[in-house]
């Protein structure tokens, strides 16, 4: 996310620039821009829309009817709890000033939105808007993880885990990349959350799938999605909402936001078509679940790249994501034998890694990109990307593993066999999804 001004200056003609340029030269702070604010208010709504109802429907359609509410409820509860957590201390830990520790974590100076008033600005938009835009990110990231352990985790254990995970994994990694921490300082390119959101969620999901173990009956008995229309609807909503995610990460309504939206569209479509074609060739028929999964893989992969690459980069990243995630969510999962129920790792983990890596390549101006960070070339940029990916994977995997093990001892992670057979909706929530 970079200042609107850098870009704005390029785009504006000299005459019109004269006056604000003079003002800026005298060291004035940026002022509120109603257009940028309008777009960021909208983007915040769009990213919230990604989680509820978007992602929650996408996931809900994929589980069996007896677990449909458990998934919807998890997404809704995460949305609510993360809002409070972010208000209380998350925003401050991620974007506050960490003093001596600032390379690793922010401070508590902004706890309970302390000092964030109606008049506070963050660049050209109100700081409240920046804070809640970022809030929608800390909402969707844990929600993505639930895809990995759907249909078997206790609701209570899930809540405890998510609170700890957001505090100990999300907030620090977010600070590293965007809040002034070491990763950003090192020059990582992560426009909208390749490391912070998707790799983080994907790895946490993989660890959770391994620690919790497989669902009863997996993989011998078949567990078809109970309602693919819900899933396809959710996928459409994710696609639309993702415009806020990626183009919103510019924090302004300008040329970069426009390009971010364009490459998001192109990469997503390319990944969807790629997945469809591979499936058509491999299995003889293209499926609705296939094409929407491909689209999500494309959305994931373009996320870190969206403000940095051009149309050509989008085609390449989309194609790669469709191709590699296809094997991640099918062959790899079957070969390794873990039960990543809804492919949180196969799509978000793998897609995020592909995207973060290729951002280092297609940011190249020669390939239509916006350029590398200062004093970097493709090699050094890719190096920085790899370090960032590696650090995120390692840190996230270790902390997630420890957290899950501790929670397992204290409250237990899984429902018992009878509850799993009966379905989580009745077992944990005393309600049924459908009464036709």
């Amino acid at each position: 996310m970079r200042s609107r001004f850098t870009l704005g200056l390029t785009a504006l003609s000299a005459a019109l620039l004269l006056w604000p340029a003079l003002v800026m030269a005298e060291g004035e702070a940026p002022t509120l821009d109603s257009g940028n604010t309008a777009w960021m208010l909208t983007s915040t709504a769009l990213v919230l829309f990604m989680t509820i109802p978007g992602l929650s429907l996408f996931y809900a359609g994929l589980v069996r009817a007896k677990n449909v509410l458990s998934v919807l409820m998890q997404c809704f509860a995460i949305t609510s709890i993360m809002t409070i957590l972010w208000t209380a201390y998350g925003y401050s830990m991620a974007f506050g000033d960490g003093g001596a520790m600032n390379a690793y974590i922010g401070g508590l100076d902004k706890a309970f939105f302390n000092g964030v008033t109606v008049a506070s600005l963050s660049g050209t938009i109100p700081e409240t808007v920046f804070a809640i835009f970022q809030m929608t990110f800390v909402i969707i990231t844990p929600a993505l993880i639930i895809g990995a352990f759907a249909e078997r985790m206790k609701f209570s254990a899930m809540l405890i885990f998510m609170v700890l995970w957001a505090t100990l994994v999300y907030a620090p990694v977010c600070h590293w990349a965007w809040g002034g921490g070491w990763m950003g300082k090192m020059g990582v390119l992560d426009f909208a959350g390749g490391t912070v959101v998707h790799i983080n969620a994907g790895i946490a999901g993989l660890v959770a799938a391994l620690v919790l173990g497989r669902r009863k009956g997996f993989p011998t008995s078949h567990m078809p999605p109970h309602s693919l229309p819900l899933t396809v609807t959710g996928a459409g909503m994710l696609w639309v909402g993702w415009f806020g995610f990626n183009a919103g990460s510019e924090l302004a309504a300008d040329g970069t936001a426009g390009m971010a939206m364009a490459v998001t569209q192109i990469a997503t479509a390319t990944a969807a078509v790629t997945w469809m074609l591979i499936e058509w060739m491999k299995h003889g028929k293209p499926s609705a679940l296939g094409i929407v999964t491909g689209a999500v893989a494309g959305l994931v992969a373009i996320t870190p790249a969206s403000g940095y690459v051009g149309p050509i980069g989008a085609l390449a990243i989309g194609g790669a994501a469709g191709f590699i995630c296809f094997f991640g969510a099918t062959s790899l999962k079957r070969a390794a034998g873990y039960d990543d129920s809804l492919d949180a790792f196969g799509v978000h983990g793998i897609g995020g890694i592909i995207g973060a890596l290729l951002t280092g390549v297609f940011a190249s101006p020669a390939l239509g990109g916006a350029g590398f960070k200062e004093n970097m070339d493709m090699a050094s940029q890719v190096g920085v990307q790899i370090i960032s990916i590696g650090a995120t994977i390692a840190y996230c995997a270790i902390v997630t593993f420890i957290l899950l093990k501790i929670i397992d001892v204290i409250v237990g992670l899984r429902v018992n066999d009878e509850e799993e057979t009966m379905g989580l909706d009745i077992a944990l929530h005393d309600e049924r999804g459908y009464n036709y």
Binding site: H222, P224, S287, T330, R334
Partner: protein, 112 residues
Amino acid sequence: MKWVIAIIKPFKLDDVREAMTSAGISGITVSEVRGFGRQKGHTELYRGAEYQVDFLPKLKIEVAVSDNLLDQVLEAIQKGAQTGKIGDGKIFVLDLEQAMRIRTGETGEKTL
């Protein structure tokens, strides 16, 4: 009286009902069932997980008939349900000892 159970292909319901009405039947009960038999099912595939579905959607028709109508009813069902292709279904006949109309409490053949 006889209790006739027929398993048929769903899209044949209208034909069967018409044939039965012509045969003098004024009441039937239908339910959705899944059938397993000689007719081959299909494959479903979700993110690479293949699943052979052997159960096909069928309709079950149940009807109580008086003994003298039985043959006409069997013929009507068979004609209405037949496509000549595998999976057309079966008709089963059981003995029915008693029948009662709930509204009136009457029993016997006149209730059918």
